[in-house]
Symmetry: D2
Subunit: 371 residues, 4 copies
């Protein structure tokens, strides 16, 4: 189900809040009861996303501490809806009315103004703000722990920032996650961290911003998740990835290169290897026919450069109905890519829990069911 | 809502059938009553997708005539569920049991075998077959007509086949659809049709197949459709596009290039032009903040080469649990891209109807509602 | 999910067709694969609902044979959508245009005319016809078989027809289903069958019709199904029961009497009995807090008298916009209650499968999960 | 859509919290933007439900003040998710561990213990508590205001408490709501208030409780809402009513009497009257064929006596696995009926908004749409 800021069929995620309201939060409906939540693991993920840590992210400083107000008792889920609240603490008290009518390039401003007839909370992007990804990382942290109980692991890495690209992933290895190093700047080749940071810092000093790419992978995903039509693994995951602000491309496996290949080179030969079914290459990124095939699940996301920049730009004043050139001050990230990695992981984890649940309920409905 | 082969919240699309069963079909729940369906327009789209037309597609010859068995009276929709049936007429009567246990590379075979515990209909791909896209084109034909009543037009074109690329689209023009010429081989630059066909024919003669790319565009889409989280325009459309067999990448606007750009070049300046709000470039493909902004909606899809090829390949025999090298005969498309264009259009049209409906119900709920 | 004529979250049921169209049918999405369907059991249920058997039902004679056109292979479900078609064979060829504009009392005619702006298929009630319950009985037959694999049994009985009431059910007994005798006229006290039939026959001869009540029970339902809010067992089942034409009341346990009781008499004392937890009475009908408690699940439905009668009645002609007194000929049931029993069983079975599935997916998500 | 404590397809209601947690709350997703909420009207409804007002309800004293933390700006809805929090202030600090393992008769205790494997928050009923109806009344208050903009009015009354019955409603009158007098004890015949209160007070002094019945009506409901199958008006509303704790029967119109009537007396003759289509009786309670017919919508609910009573009762200790006779102290309502009236109104209002929205989106999709 997908209705504005809510998603899911087995677990329903209900997201709320605005950048400059008192708090943001999320409710998870229908979590299994009796799960012991590892709070430290969630805090770690949230800290990876948290702003204000260094010059590579926005100076807005939020601790992003969450308070669970329902659905837990003595450290375990109760099975009732679990709600986490995160208080906003570093909203600026400036006068926003000056910017209310200025529709910034490549921002949601104009689209939202039309949609909500001028009633949307425009302060700091309101409900459109990347701040809303904090509760998503919280929810994803729980989803990751559910997956972990089944051995499934999810991890993201920065694939590129501007022109600097990380080393290739070994797409066929079930231990590929161990090759990704670093928490806030996860890379295969950590020696590239400095050049990536230079790209960001240069953009920052030019009062500009820069985009990049992210890979998200999951390993030990059982074969058989997903459906051929309307609920393929790619459908489910791209649906979620495309709810991350700034994502403008989602590919699986070698999706970017496949149009330029023939089947004789693109097909993933399939073999028994030590008793397990494996493919020799993984151009399909772990999904064939919309269904997982047991190989690592690999998605690539493209992140556009943050549109907020401290430069004069052509835009409109929608109340005066005039073209203007203006320059909206505001705190922003010169590159959102590193902070988007845990968000992408969260989305993949949420999607995988649903896909596992879709499959799980179908088990053992016949008397002779021996599988 | 998305449950195996069904999709939608306002209109529910319920798809059924297998490649080698007696018929395939689709039911549309909750169509508005009193719509006069233009059957010729639907037949035209279905004919664009239909196999067996020429050497560039599979030799399986299906007329793809549909029979509407419910939901219509005297040429108008009644408002009750509308079901269309398409009889399969050219199934081969060969013995499929020989191939049952052979899991072909890059096909759904193995994933489906695991998922359905060996009970899936494996004949010709069963429910996974591209044949199931025929009812989707039917449904999309109806969705297109609903959109047309609001002035919204949807159209696809072949962006590339193998290495041959069509000319660029003018991404900011609201008349860009008129620049796409040709029905079964829609291109901006029709002079490229022959070289694309040569690429396909060469693959066919090499007993191989080749991939390609598709652009799907919609114009006159009102600003304000979509939601920031979990139901963005990109989420909804990519969800549907990724239910088209063989799609492995979905990008919007300049999604492929954006990671390598800075905001100062990537931002779409926004201006009044002849009273309308337009952007000077359209790197966002008509969507900002997950919401349409009134510019042309532009998506690119990557289609992998059809995995069925008449060549020896490494695969497994899952009943004998052994590695084999085999060569599965069968009718197949040397390039599925041209036939996938109307399917991609159908998916975009279905998605847009939902997005319009999502927005439409929210109108006029307050007494002083003057917008 | 509930969108016109479709229902379900785990299995989606997609119903289509009209009384006088070529066929009616239903698609079941997301059935588990590998289920061997007992066709004879389904045929038996469908025969209980089938019209034209005797003078106690409508003379319209339909065999109600179903044809499965997808989702089965060699007697087992494949996991793909399963579609069953039932051809209409005894539509009358009379001229319906005379009755088109006459809005009959207590029928859907006027409400449907307004809803569908006069475009609904009015012939024989169109999609509103009780004929559409035939595919529901088919679907319920499959649901019953799924439940049977878990030991859950569903059964209905006629509780009353007109003033004649069947004997009381033993509401606390897990073997209460065995006390219900008879297929097409299921009763605890079969000696009442004749007097009930007399009531029906007398109504028929008076060109009138008569209502009645049905009890539907399920035994061996595990404790723990359902949710406190928005998805209680009563919510789910009443939702489905109220999709049976003519149902105007749904009660659980002693729901009709409870407002007139005090807790000291109404409370169901709870005890261990032979190691199992049982209640001494069952005024709650097996549901407390919206959740099953392991006692027999008991629902009562009230069925209004079939509104079609061969008598002059006050009604309107909506095209001439005038009040008329008219008498619409047509085949109808003098009492629909006996034929509604298998439909009520089908609905309860479909509901219980969803409730079991809701619960089932939540199992075994934590490493120390020993329950 | 219905997933534990969440409901809705157009507006999603996401409910959370426990009786003895820090707060309870609700999020409304997808409210139209630009609605000016009348806070005083909501407070009034909440005050009608609020406990601790007098000796006829539980002594637990909660102010039930709500705080809106998202989705509003300057008094108007923004279109983003609207979340209201209600702090619990009068939880008792007693030691609940003594009662944890005692499963009370006719309570959710045992069913919940099984469902949640002993992990549910058992303090004061946890998430099962009637306290959770406070946020529902909040949400219903907003739904009522949406309906009011379309002229639709919703109102409940106490139909009976124990043996004392209110006067009959005039079921055919579009002004019937004006005949219901009183806020916290709404009745047609206010002279009965005292005798009803005596019944309650007598039960209270006997350390017992008593049940009752409620009528909920809506007027000016347009004809044409609802669907014949799976989404009938009765399905939608009974689904919601059965999420109110203690409801055990839901009937529409004369649903309780219809089984004992013949069509010749039960049919609602249909006539033009002053240009409008009206029925002379309203045994169908405003719904025919599952669809509203423009007559007053009338539902009756039966409320069981509150199961918590200060008397010794047979129950089990589930940890010691033994039968006990015990007496659980606790604050409770001697009769919940008066406080349930605004909850029933809220549910009907929420249901009607969905039904209107279902219909609304289907309008004006064809060029010649003149209706």
């Amino acid at each position: 189900m997908f209705v504005q800021s809510s998603w899911g069929k087995h677990i329903v995620y209900s997201l709320f809040g605005e950048s400059h309201g008192p708090m943001i939060g999320i409710t998870l409906h229908h979590l299994p009861a009796g799960i012991k939540i590892d709070m430290e693991a969630i805090k770690k993920d949230m800290s990876r996303r948290r702003p204000g840590k260094n010059k590579y992210s926005t100076p807005r400083n939020e601790k992003d501490q969450f308070e669970i107000v329902s659905g837990m008792l003595e450290g375990y889920t109760t099975g009732a809806p679990l709600t986490a609240l995160i208080h906003n603490t570093d909203q600026r008290s400036r006068d926003y009315s000056k910017v209310k009518s200025k529709m910034r390039p490549s921002h949601a401003d104009y689209a939202a103004y039309v949609k909500y007839k001028g009633h949307n909370d425009y302060r700091g992007g309101g409900h459109f703000s990347g701040r809303l990804t904090a509760p998503i990382v919280f929810a994803g942290g729980i989803a990751k722990q559910l997956l972990m109980a089944r051995g499934i692991q999810v991890k993201g890495r920065i694939a590129s920032i501007g022109p600097v690209k990380d080393a290739d992933l070994d797409q066929t290895s079930s231990t590929l996650i161990s090759t990704i190093k670093g928490e806030t700047f996860p890379l295969v080749d950590q020696s590239l961290e400095e050049s990536m940071k230079e790209v960001i810092d240069k953009a920052r000093m030019d009062l500009d911003s820069v985009g990049g790419a992210i890979d998200v992978v999951a390993v030990n995903v059982p074969a058989g998740l997903g459906e051929p039509f309307f609920n393929s693994v790619e459908s489910t995951l791209s649906h979620l990835f495309y709810s991350i602000p700034a994502v403008k491309m989602v590919a699986f496996g070698s999706g970017m290169q496949l149009p330029f290949m023939r089947a004789s080179e693109a097909n993933d030969a399939i073999m028994y290897k030590d008793g397990a079914v494996r493919t020799l290459s993984n151009h399909n990124g772990g999904v064939t026919g919309g269904i997982t095939n047991g190989m690592p699940l690999i998605a690539r996301l493209h992140i556009k450069p943050t549109p907020t920049i401290d430069q004069d730009q052509k835009m409109i004043d929608i109340e005066n109905k005039e073209n203007i050139v203006d320059h909206i001050e505001g705190r922003h990230d010169p590159c959102i890519v590193p902070r988007a990695v845990p968000v992408a992981e969260a989305m993949m984890a949420m999607g995988l829990v649903e896909l596992v649940a879709d499959e799980k309920w179908t088990e053992r409905w016949c008397p002779d069911d021996t599988y």
